[in-house]
Subunit: 420 residues, 2 copies
Amino acid sequence: MSDLPTAYPGFSFEITHKAPDSRARLGRLTTPHGTISTPNFIFCGTKASIKGVTPAQMRAEKTDIILSNTYHLMIQPGADIVAKMGGLHRFMGWDGPMLTDSGGFQIFSMGHGSVADEIKGRRTQTRDTTLLKITEKGATFRSYMNGEKLFLSPELSIDIQRKLGADLIVQFDECTPFHVDRAYTAKSMALSHRWGDRSLKEFAKGGGMSYNGLPQALYGIIQGGVYEDLRKESATYTKDRPFFGTAVGGSLGANTAQMDEVVAMTMPHTHPDRPVHLLGIGGIRDIFAGVVQGIDTFDCVSPTRIARHGWALAPKAKGERLNMRNSRFREDPNPIDPACDCYACSNFSRAYIHHLLKAGELLAMQLLSIHNVATMNRLLRDVREAIATGTLAEARQRWVYDPQAQENGEGDPVAQGGAA
Amino acid sequence: MSDLPTAYPGFSFEITHKAPDSRARLGRLTTPHGTISTPNFIFCGTKASIKGVTPAQMRAEKTDIILSNTYHLMIQPGADIVAKMGGLHRFMGWDGPMLTDSGGFQIFSMGHGSVADEIKGRRTQTRDTTLLKITEKGATFRSYMNGEKLFLSPELSIDIQRKLGADLIVQFDECTPFHVDRAYTAKSMALSHRWGDRSLKEFAKGGGMSYNGLPQALYGIIQGGVYEDLRKESATYTKDRPFFGTAVGGSLGANTAQMDEVVAMTMPHTHPDRPVHLLGIGGIRDIFAGVVQGIDTFDCVSPTRIARHGWALAPKAKGERLNMRNSRFREDPNPIDPACDCYACSNFSRAYIHHLLKAGELLAMQLLSIHNVATMNRLLRDVREAIATGTLAEARQRWVYDPQAQENGEGDPVAQGGAA
């Protein structure tokens, strides 16, 4: 089809190494704002800001790539203002690779209740009314800020993402929750595929370029819920279309074991040469589970979100994190993690972080966010090194506390989920 | 008296230049943690943290000296823990000069209602009961955290400050509010003098050293409210005692004009060779008014406090600040202050800061705090340069919007006051 993208100038994805004993692989993903090594973790700057961390601090802790959310930015400050200010990179002071999602996840997760909660097996009973209507054309919903009625379609989502100007952008989709049945999931998946085609056409119409004149690259999204045949059908759909990359979305099941199954049934059918992103997932255990299936990038709000609640990511910790409010840290002169070289661990004790939390000081959130960002980046560096040297199992032992218990969905669950 | 300090090893205050036409002067204040040029501004790290700004960011914005509050730290985390963690410098990661106050200001301002409010002429009618009793021995009050009954005396305040281990420490005093009468002010001043003597003795008893073995230097406090004879008497008291430095405290009147009068009636009677600190004052106008009277250091919570409410300090701005929530900044591509070279102004637009505030992002507070810290430091550098070149009046023109109106106490008042 002549009205679809045929090339992605300025972009490439090179697979530099494949593990002999799993689907794990190393890659180099090139964008107009730089090249990142994969597997990698994409930090969530939901509203054009990583909560509590400056871009300079993100860079100092060796961050490679971040994302922002179309849904939030279309409401505040609005895509036109971002475009007028030179695009999202310039607006938020991040000059590295960046992704925006399509807005779909938030519209539907806020409309149906949290999809993230359902991945974790917590069925929510509350249904609010932010999602008003889904039609072939698109979705009508209410602004989370002022209740204003808003509409998003594949064409509008792509247009907004062109105004935002991230490097990697994502097709518009319906993100089906876990509690819907197979029939609804199948119908919704087919709609997402038609929306994917419209996203591709709209992308091509814009010449594959942002409003500020830089090339962008479009990801398709695989839906299909927990159903193997649907996942295969959806993976095949994305493979057969000229997307640059593949995103695995939708409901990944009720617990991490089911999530692993869904990823395992999906990955063999994805395009082998394209980067694969697992949407909204990023616990330490999940990263190891994902990379052996061939996942190249992850994202999750968890590292900075749990930081704001006083939790520090820590290798081998139960639940993957330490509660720095715990009184056992009151007189602890050690850094949060003695093996971590982040700004927080290089300069402050657990006793100080504990004090800041007790005193309600902003700096607690900042230092814990910095530490958690640094820890995710260190984890992904370790993962890449382990893939290169064939030592993923050993790396997993160094990072994951009790794999058996966590496999069964027991223990302190890994925070996953969207940016809503 | 052999039980009083006779020297302050490791400390010095050298006056390097005196203005020919005012009491303004340049100096070099040396402490075991470094030397600062004066006049200078001391930033408030109330609970062992500058709110929203890391020590590295404070340094990057050319901060020379900070303070922490005895009152807050004796409650959380407690002075013993700070001492055990190696003292406040190490605990909070600040290796430069540092001051702690005596705790008096907070006990009495929280007990009587805000002293700061009264300096600004806003009489408060509410009297809470955190201050329970003042006797010759000391003050009994309730913890702001849990209501626990606490006691502070000159001896305990000095002991706590030795445990905290700041370079510059301050005698315990009663900080009289504006609304009390002359008789009470006189009686209270006499009590503060006796407490000053006891503070000196306790300081000498500890060998003038912190618990972690570094020398400290003690400031006396001038009380006397708005009464010229009392201010003279109190200034003479501090001059005649072996304090290292002089702090001007207590009620400075109902508005900035009266504050200027109180400072003017006090300064001629202070020890001419000692550094003079004006407690809790630090508006841009106030700095100019203070330095011509011979004030060497200032402190105020305002720069970071107003930042957290969306205000940016700006030269010549009405009220000395810009409300970054104002919709006129919605599409403004300029930095907060084009003349400012701080991290925020070097990397972000007013439109972005405005967006962050509207979106409720933590980063707004952080960037505005960084900007306000940088602006105060730039102001003080300008002031020192202007004293050296005899151009203070010109510098004042560059910084203060409408001196006439502000002299009369009109316009948006400058935020002043303690760390409570």
